[in-house]
Symmetry: D2
């Protein structure tokens, strides 16, 4: 019986093994182990497989012809990502579904405080907020930058929340990591590989949004870029692809959730705010995301959506958060047993 | 205060009213009332509005600048469609969510009987099955035709189920209507207006699938074609739009459900089988559809999916039906109160 | 050496041949030869291939694993379609590029006469015009019907032009064929197989537009449906797929032209009017279509576009026709030698 | 009469003017003039317009409600971009159409020399080649980096060609600018605003590719980001959007050319290599691009496409370059007068 395998090895493999082995990638690359790592793909018989597994320079052997071995299903028993909040650990992708909420853009301490208090009161542990905002127009509000990072940290600490915020520039990665617990890569920059490498290098969990024209495989390959460049953990976040119907800002691809589940163990989140751009659709689509098997949702809220400086039409009022948290938890409790059974 | 209205009138309006009234459509058309009906759009003041409402030849006055007044929100207290099964009435779009299930194509009485028995045992009341199948290739199996219609009727009657089946040719509409309770318009023919008129004319409820490139407005305008041509009731069914990712057969647009809810009172169904084309995604997406607010799902099942003559890879085995029915009912019970509150 | 072949045979093949032969399609179908034809696909060696070619009941053997053997490249030396205008023959897909022009909808004899005179004065031989118009809204002008057919015939005869017009309803196919020389299948009905069969049955050339969500293969399979149902000749017409940018009505896929050339010998036309929906883009895209290798263009014109009852914003004024005809001929003369050389 | 204007002013405007003036963007920004520039939009009467034009602190007044005033039509008599090759100036967007050719990735001096010699022999003045390659997989060849930049410069100088190459990382912008004459922003990074700002800052012409999901307006806003951040000149390059048909790698949107012409004076190029991904389609689509009004094409070629380390299936063999140059020049000569007349 033949096995299709994918290898990461330190340096070149012994030539005895090389007949059916194809080298992937042009240059040796450094992996977290320190040495120069080369990726190989091979079709091998039982004997060669055993030999590979026993070769000291072979760091990993992954079966199956996956183009993204690090991001693939890992069968490690858990796919959870632990995030530190001081001495505590909170989980993304664990037993409990997670709501990550907060304003599109950090505008003021009062705005952020109102959001954080509402989130914490509902048992939420994650606060999102934009400090550096990618804006289609150079004349649009682009975020408060470092001042917003400081506010996020202060307010989150006050309520024992973890901070999720976006990095736009590779030169900002370390600075953002000093304030944030989870670094977000936005949809526009999913394939900005220089940015991915810089963010991976700081070693914190990364929330990777899907680009509006990315296939699932391209998205997983961006996750692979992150993991290959040293990212500790990656969380995927669907936020809608480019659709043709002006009725919605984007076309939220919820089937991505079960389809990804067949391909990866990484936690999968859904952003129904950007995914629809329509406030009335946010709650139904958050509920649908969890019903489809998502590990949680990323939602924009605002204490006064009418005056939001960015993406007001899709922000939930804080009064809607209890219903959001309730739906997410209720549906998760209902579907988890069924979906886990179905995935077997 | 000015009102934007849409009128359906028998013949021309009195000229006293005509100054701000724009006639829509070129030719008078017969509506169910029998007379020649002309559609008008107008911006009128309070006095003119009262006058219009009192004009005997004005059949309907609908406020708001909708291009599809008959398919729009009707605020009639209910959006339910009643389907007769002998002396019984069963409902689409009522309080209870509905599962419509059955094989893609009717192949044999044994196959159909196995499906119907499984559906009835779970409390289902609707059996779907293809008698006339639109197939991309002229060399593919195109359905058993009238023999399949007869089998559908016999088997459905045995289990007191309503029959849902597709009409492909305007010349078949009456024949299909003799056997079926709900006539389906498929995605490929959503804009085949000659077919829509012929199906509308037989006066049974119509299940109208969305074409893979149709906007919500275009879809609602096809529903308007049906209602304008005399269809008694129309049920909408989302089944995925054309996507760019080969990971799925179609891109299921679940946000269509809450976005349609803002525009229409017609019942909204979702077909996760065609909507994904991947068996493992059917259950999660059926659950998600109901969580998003759908009135029910349309699902393909097969007693032996491995030998299905059409669309085998997306058919659910009958053993999965209990989980499907359970998820649909459980989630519906959970989300209805929240979604109804949110829609207010 | 093995050969991948596709067969059309009268009845079942001798069992001696059957080992590697897979039957395609469920039911024998009548082909133009009269007998019941069954399609087969097979992988055969040299000896079996010779045997098949010598079997009298095998109507055709096409090499290569094409799903659309009748629509595929036929290597018959020409791909031209001859259309009769009285005793004359005019060609689509021959040496000379062709402009098919006329109004979106036939409105009056004066309108049609102005168009026809302008076309004939430039050497054009094809007049298009809508008698039955598929309209998204039931309230929009849907064409003048049979009166328009009569006008088309009268005006075309006066200028010795061939008539191209759309059929919407299978029950209209024969009537339209009495007046028209080329029957058009519109984008909305490309997959309306009942209509395709009815139009094929009348035996006139068919101009088949691409549906807005159709792949090239699906489009060619609709051509296969036509040819399989007896259509004499099929001309393909690209008219834009559904795009995401509101800047244009559709996204004109000109690369379809060279990509189709690799797959089929059917003549290929392009409709830059529907393909863009923007008058200023029609001439550049007509020029581009011919530069890409199209056999001609299908263009909407109107003597007074400002008052057109349908699609006014994309209609060319008649004053632009000389530039259109000049560009089409000039570019065709320039690119044909290069493209023919490139295709070798 | 009222005028809709867009202003760029140094600092705040006199309050006398402010009544109808809306400030756009949150923060004053430095423009090339040095001062802090604020963008305003206003609806003003004749008198106020005159006042604005006479206000010393108002750097620019652009009429019309465009969201991208710097990238809009400028009516400056020319849209040409001059590129220095030593003491010479060569033009993009001038009277003569331009072919920019070269390998996808720089692999060796021999490969580059073969390309450059072929280009120069045909009168070409632009050599493209990838030094830093964005690759979907982290295991794919990602370019030779600085060594490739050096080779590009040496080989281009030998043949008096200008170098066009991509910048991927904001930290590389200055280094690349030391070797290259035109800096390319790739499709994946069109909305990577940190990169745009860094590339703009080096002050060389920028070739900006369209992202696969970008509308024309989003693309022009990325050009606006570049111009707003100090880029001297921007050249647009269409390279295909994400399509649904696996027959092509991308869906080349040639109608973008005439549609952009209505919105901007920036030179417009087309890349038929990435735009189709199919070698046989490159020449027809290059011809079509120029017929549609493009200022030139960007094409991948390779002396031995079979062994190319990147994008081999779409590379033209050098033997096809004479036909490419001939088609581009022949069609340009034919269409320019017609298109210029049509644009009036």
């Amino acid at each position: 019986m033949k096995h299709c395998v994918f290898l990461l090895a330190q340096g070149h493999l012994p030539s005895a093994l090389s007949s059916e082995i194809v080298r992937i990638g042009a240059e040796p690359r450094a992996l977290e182990e320190g040495g120069a790592i080369i990726a190989y793909s091979a079709t091998v018989d039982e004997a060669a497989l055993a030999l590979l597994r026993g070769t000291p320079s072979v760091a990993r052997v992954l079966e199956g012809p996956t183009p993204h071995p690090l991001a693939a299903r890992r069968s490690l028993g858990t796919r959870a990502v632990d995030v530190s909040i001081g001495p505590e650990l909170v989980r993304l992708g664990g037993e409990q579904p997670v709501v990550i909420a907060g304003p599109c853009a950090v505008e003021s301490e009062a705005q952020l405080e109102a959001c954080a208090r509402a989130i914490a009161a509902l048992g939420g542990r994650f606060l999102r907020g934009g400090a550096y905002k990618p804006r289609t127009s150079p004349y649009a509000f682009a975020g408060e930058g470092e001042r917003a990072l400081e506010l996020l940290r202060v307010v989150a600490d006050r309520h024992r929340l973890a901070v999720v915020t976006e990095v736009l520039d590779p030169r900002d990665a370390e600075r953002v990591a000093r304030f944030a617990d989870v670094l977000q890569i936005g949809a526009r920059t999913m394939s900005d590989f220089a940015l991915l490498r810089a963010v991976a290098a700081v070693g914190k969990p990364v929330l990777l949004k899907r680009a509006p024209s990315a296939t699932l495989e391209e998205w997983l390959l961006s996750a692979e870029h992150l993991l290959h460049a040293g990212a500790r953990d990656v969380v995927l976040c669907e936020r809608g692809v480019r659709g043709f119907d002006p009725a919605a800002r984007n076309l939220l691809d919820l089937a991505a959730v079960p389809l990804l589940r067949q391909r990866t163990d990484l936690p999968i989140f859904v952003d129904p705010s950007h995914g629809t751009g329509v406030r009335k659709a946010v709650l139904p689509m958050a509920a649908a995301a969890v019903a489809a098997g998502a590990d949680g949702v990323l939602v924009e809220c605002h204490p006064d959506a009418g005056v939001a400086r960015s993406d007001g039409p899709q922000a939930l009022p804080l009064a809607a958060l209890p219903r959001l948290f309730g739906l997410v938890q209720g549906i998760s409790a209902l579907v988890r047993p069924s979906l886990d059974a179905a995935a077997e």
